[in-house]
């Protein structure tokens, strides 16, 4: 993967304002951005996914320009073809596991049916051991299962990169360690480019790759 980010954004909330000035470049398949909460990591990820529009700058992912304020380019989130794992997974509470996973595969006005099935669906249900809960709804799942559903939902569409926003923060410590290993192995197996943001040093230790530090809206190479 080759990712190049150079963006500026002023975020205001009441009288407070926050300067995001993120500039980074990486060729690693595993890019980890590490920093305290409130450093602007999530905002940067949202900019990559197209959920936040920077004031100015450019975002390039694997030779594809996603955003360029000078050239007037700003691809919509649905055109960027990235997978995004939200911190609390953002599973659709009104859809069962199958419907959640197939959500992005079906275009148009209607959600996939409760019994939606396909070869890739069977593959992911099997790979993540979700067969037994395929008909269940998000609130009936354990934390680890929720994360696997969210991962399957993101990966089934073959995204160009997977963006992970504090993926282990919502899990209890024992499960956290296991899911770290699981995700790390998955990345190696699929060889999919991943960008992970975290405030947890343990994530950095296990995930490795290219580690950057972010503080107060700006990026620095990690020591």
């Amino acid at each position: 993967m080759h990712i190049k980010i150079d963006i500026r954004k002023t975020l205001r909330s009441g009288a407070r304002s926050f300067q995001l000035q993120a500039k980074l470049e990486s060729h690693s398949q595993r890019l980890v951005v590490y920093g305290p909460s409130g450093a602007g990591k999530s905002q940067m990820m949202k900019a990559v996914a197209g959920l936040m529009t920077p004031d100015a700058g450019r975002i390039e992912l694997s030779g594809r320009c996603l955003f360029d304020s000078a050239a007037g380019i700003n691809l919509a989130p649905q055109q960027r073809e990235v997978g995004y794992l939200f911190q609390d997974y953002a599973l659709f509470p009104h859809l069962n596991v199958r419907q959640n996973i197939a959500f992005g595969l079906q275009r148009g006005w209607f959600n996939p049916s409760a019994r939606v099935d396909s070869e890739s669906m069977r593959y992911w249900l099997d790979a993540f051991a979700l067969d037994a809960v395929a008909h269940q709804y998000p609130h009936q799942l354990s934390g680890g299962q929720r994360q696997r559903v969210a991962l399957a939902r993101a990966l089934i569409a073959h995204p160009r990169a997977l963006l992970l926003d504090e993926p282990f923060a919502a899990l209890d410590p024992a499960l956290r360690a296991r899911m770290r290993e699981e995700l790390s192995a998955l990345q190696r197996r699929l060889d999919i480019p991943m960008i992970l943001i975290t405030h947890d040093p343990d994530d950095v230790a296990v995930f490795g790759g290219h580690v950057l530090r972010m503080e107060e809206g700006a990026i620095a190479e990690a020591a």
Binding site: L51, Y84, G104, R107, W109, R153
Partner: protein, 225 residues
């Protein structure tokens, strides 16, 4: 024992309330979503203006409607000149009056329901490749529909009971614009107590049924408090 005029009035009331509610639902969904999700200047002013019918005397509202859709009104005059359409003293005018009076109930319910939907879910849907209106239909609306429906049923009950504004723009023509609530007034004025009793009972049963439904369907189970 059930006389003809009562049934005609009930049928008319139901017809008017159904049309008014349908209109309110379409506009309420659109505007409620807009108010819940978009930031624009005058947002709260718009919300306040749309809520006015809830607090204004129905007669004042009826007067505004006459100014708007009356034969010499802004919209009514144009309709008359261009298409020869007259709205005043028709059941369609009753629909408009009921729709305006009941609109805040749909709007408030829809806005609150859409505001309660986690925006991150809509973002997740967009990142997964689903765009604009489809996200609304597949994520926002299914998660908000209970709140929307609660408000809509209340609006239906309110539209059923509409009296003041309806009387001013649609009048009281038996079989044509004389709805249940207006028929009650006419019956009492004419001293027909038996007829009034029957009409009142029918109205009460209909409204209680709708309110019970509304309470059952609303997440917090008590739309009136």
């Amino acid at each position: 024992m059930l006389d003809q005029p009562a049934w005609i009035a009930l049928r008319l009331s139901l017809k008017v309330a159904c049309w008014a509610t349908a209109l309110d639902l379409v506009f309420g969904l659109a505007l409620g979503y807009l108010l819940a999700r978009k930031r624009f200047p005058g947002r709260e002013l718009l919300d306040a203006l749309m809520t006015l019918p809830m607090v204004m005397p129905p007669t004042v509202l009826g007067y505004y409607l006459l100014v708007l859709i009356g034969r010499n009104g802004w919209l009514g005059g144009w309709l008359q000149r261009s298409f020869g359409i007259n709205l005043i003293f028709t059941w369609q005018a009753a629909v408009i009056a009921s729709a305006v009076v009941a609109f805040p109930l749909v709007l408030k319910g829809a806005r609150a329901a859409f505001e309660a939907v986690d925006q991150q879910l809509e973002q997740a849907a967009r990142v997964l490749g689903v765009s604009g209106f489809s996200v609304f239909l597949r994520v926002s609306l299914p998660l908000a529909w209970r709140g929307v429906l609660g408000g809509t049923l209340l609006a239906f009950a309110r539209a059923m009971g509409e009296f003041g504004a309806t009387l001013m723009v649609a009048g009281s023509i038996p079989g044509k614009t004389q709805t249940l609530s207006i028929a009650v007034y006419e019956a009492v004025q004419a001293g027909q107590d038996d007829h009034a009793n029957l009409l009142v009972i029918i109205t009460s049963i209909t409204c209680v049924t709708v309110l019970v439904l509304a309470n059952k369907l609303t997440p917090n189970r008590n739309v009136l408090s």
